[in-house]
Amino acid sequence: MKRCLAVAGAAVLLLSGCGAQEEPEQAAAGPVTIDYWLWDTAQQPQYQACADAFHKANPQYTVKITQYGWDDYWNTLTTAFVSGTAPDVFVGHLSRYPELAAQGQILPLDEYVTKDKVDLSIYQDGLADLWVAKDGKRYGLPKDFDTVAVIYNTDLLKKAGIKPEEMAELSWNPQDGGTYEKVIARLTVDKNGKRGDEPGFDKKNVATYGLGLNGSGAGFGQTEWSMYAMSNGWQYGDKNPWPTTFNYADPKFKETIKWFTSLIDKGYMPTMDIVSSGVGQIDAYGAGKYAMVTEGSWNTKTYWNLKGVKSALAPTPIGPTGKRASLFNGLADNISATSDNPDAAWAWVKFLGSPACQEDIVAKEAIVFPAIKTATVKAEQAFKDAGIDVKPFTMHVEQGTTHLAPIAEHWADITATMTETMDAIFSFKADVNSLDQANATVNGLFG
């Protein structure tokens, strides 16, 4: 109810903003309320702090933050665009902004960037490029980045007799899984207490799985399989961003998925039936059902807040290429093309992308890694102060083993096709060769 009122209030403010627009040059005159949407509750406090700092520096601007859960966020936004009640600024996502940009719903920022001489080199390399759309125009300034690492239960590791140092040097290959699979097998325990690498292990009655599973990963597999496939020399498409063909039928991808799903068959990883009948990977891990999971850096704090389990981080394994790999993804803020106060909106976006917000506020909260290089260092320290060594996440950036997240048109349609195909493969209802057909369907979208 409270939120309804708040939203109604925002709408009223927005409407009054509309009225004011009639007079030119109004931006500098009266107080302006900037409507800002985001989806992550964990990040709301830090951006509220940024909003307060922004208001302090620019008293004429007030930022009103509204949060919607991820599942409702994009629908609500779409409806808001149609009904003309879209927020001035909202947190964008790489899988969504190309479509919005193509339909002219979000504002290109190039003029503002040039006018205000925004230095794009302060951001981690590559992050700023993610927000240049196919039309060559920039739609966002990077605000954070994320990578993938292994989170493991330290007690279960100890019981298995594995040393934390070993976790930092694991490698895998699609043939026998390497030392990585050995550790997963060792961490798996059946109902009788037999481990996955011991004779007599009962794969039908597993008490603790060595590796958790979140889902089949559809066509993205960010935290599920992307780190294996890419350390096997695979890439999503012929180029990134804006691929014209995808590589889901590539033998390197097929052998990666074949190996990964074999973990299910061996009883080291839960079946798709279990995964789809479960509330989620985080809760199962918290209950000690998974000894380790592969996760994105944005969830780190959530794992550390779980009661009853102690966790530590390890890097993703070294693959056949001799290197590790992690997707490199990041968020940015988009401005609605229909915003009544684009100048105010830009001032806020610029502030969100500046050290004043990222380095002085966001970095200290130790929730996400800010996009600014110097702020990343501060965030590492803040995580360390909270007892979390985040090197397994940031080492990808230092060692250059990051791969930019795929940015493509038709992403929703790709996801629909790939969800079905990958779910079927992970459920052993289809062979990895069904990827040939799926890849043809995906590439057909670009025909």
């Binding site: 789809s276 479960g278 779910d423």
Partner: protein, 317 residues
């Protein structure tokens, strides 16, 4: 009849030839119409605004390519042609039908049982209230709570199953997902349906039961020969409502399986939603909705015809 019409009725003594009367005043000719219109108006406006207009516009959009953010482009019957070759559409129909059958059968049988028990055993309003409780909880909440309780690894239900010595059950796995969701919705709706049937039971005059008792009919026989036939109009209503309601299953699936695993729970409404709001394919989604509309209208018509819902076997009472 309103008092106006009574007052306006000509008072002619019996046996006399009525004089040719002047044409009745306008008010009389219209009879109850103005009042009726007045009462129907709010509902009619609501219906026109929120059902009729969207339906007409939906029918138009089904002939277009439309992504909401740019104007629709007319493409004729292309969406409908595509629909016939769409494997997922046919799968959605199959999955939905499976759900409807499971849900209707379990819901009707359990509700009937509950209603008869309520009618025969207790007059307590408290018990009636308790029976209705699940229906008062929002669908999404019910679905989420059950999703937690049925969780494979953490759920209380699976813990009990294991404690009893059986294997854990993947309730939302590809084989069991639809029966599980049908079960959850049965649990939520059975109280409401039971009360509808209960109301029907109360309309059956006690005299017929007395007559049955005098004839020495057993409880079982009385139920099949007296109660059930006399419930027909109510049951027809219940069936039409719950069949249409079941076809529209959406929220339970949206918060649990999201159409998966693979396509096991991609019911027609979820498919339409997915196409429209996730994939911005509003034109095609509108075509699917139109087909679903025709289908549901047909089913409702057949049901009403078959069950002769307008008539009752109660005569002269």
């Amino acid at each position: 009849m309103t008092s106006d019409t009574v007052r306006a009725a000509p008072r002619t003594p019996p046996g006399t030839v009525p004089e040719p009367t002047p044409p009745p005043p306008l008010r009389r000719r219209l009879g109850d119409l103005p009042v009726a219109v007045l009462f129907v108006l709010p509902a009619a406006i609501g219906f026109a605004l929120f059902y009729l207009w969207p339906a007409v516009r939906g029918a138009y959009l089904s002939l277009t390519r439309y992504n909401v953010l740019t104007p629709p482009r007319f493409i004729g019957l292309e969406n409908y042609e595509k629909l016939f070759g769409d494997r997922l559409f046919w799968n959605a129909l199959k999955v939905t039908a499976e759900y409807v059958v499971l849900n209707i059968v379990s819901q009707t049988v359990i509700s009937m049982l509950l209603a008869v028990l309520l009618y025969r055993l207790t007059k307590s309003m408290v018990v009636r209230g308790i029976v209705l409780l699940p229906y008062l909880v929002a669908n999404v909440v019910v679905a989420l709570v059950w999703f937690w309780m049925l969780d494979f690894q953490l759920g209380v239900v699976n813990n009990v199953i294991e404690w009893l010595g059986f294997d854990r059950v993947a309730f939302f796995g590809s084989d069991l997902a639809i029966p599980t969701i049908a079960g959850i919705n049965t649990w939520r709706h059975m109280g409401y349906t039971a009360l509808l049937i209960f109301a029907g039971l109360q309309m059956i005059p006690p005299s017929v039961y007395e007559a049955a008792a005098i004839d020495g009919a057993s409880e079982w026989r009385t139920f099949w020969r007296v109660t059930l036939p006399l419930l027909r109009p109510v049951m027809a209503l219940v069936m039409v409502l719950s069949v249409i309601g079941s076809f529209q299953v959406f929220d339970t699936i949206a918060v649990t399986t999201s159409g998966g695993p693979i396509n096991a729970t991609r019911v027609i409404y979820f498919y339409i939603y997915d196409l429209a709001f996730n994939r911005f394919n509003f034109g095609y989604a509108a075509a699917l909705s139109s087909v679903l509309f025709v289908l549901l209208a047909g089913i409702a018509y057949v049901q009403l015809r078959l069950s002769r819902a307008g008539e009752s076997d109660l005569r002269g009472s």
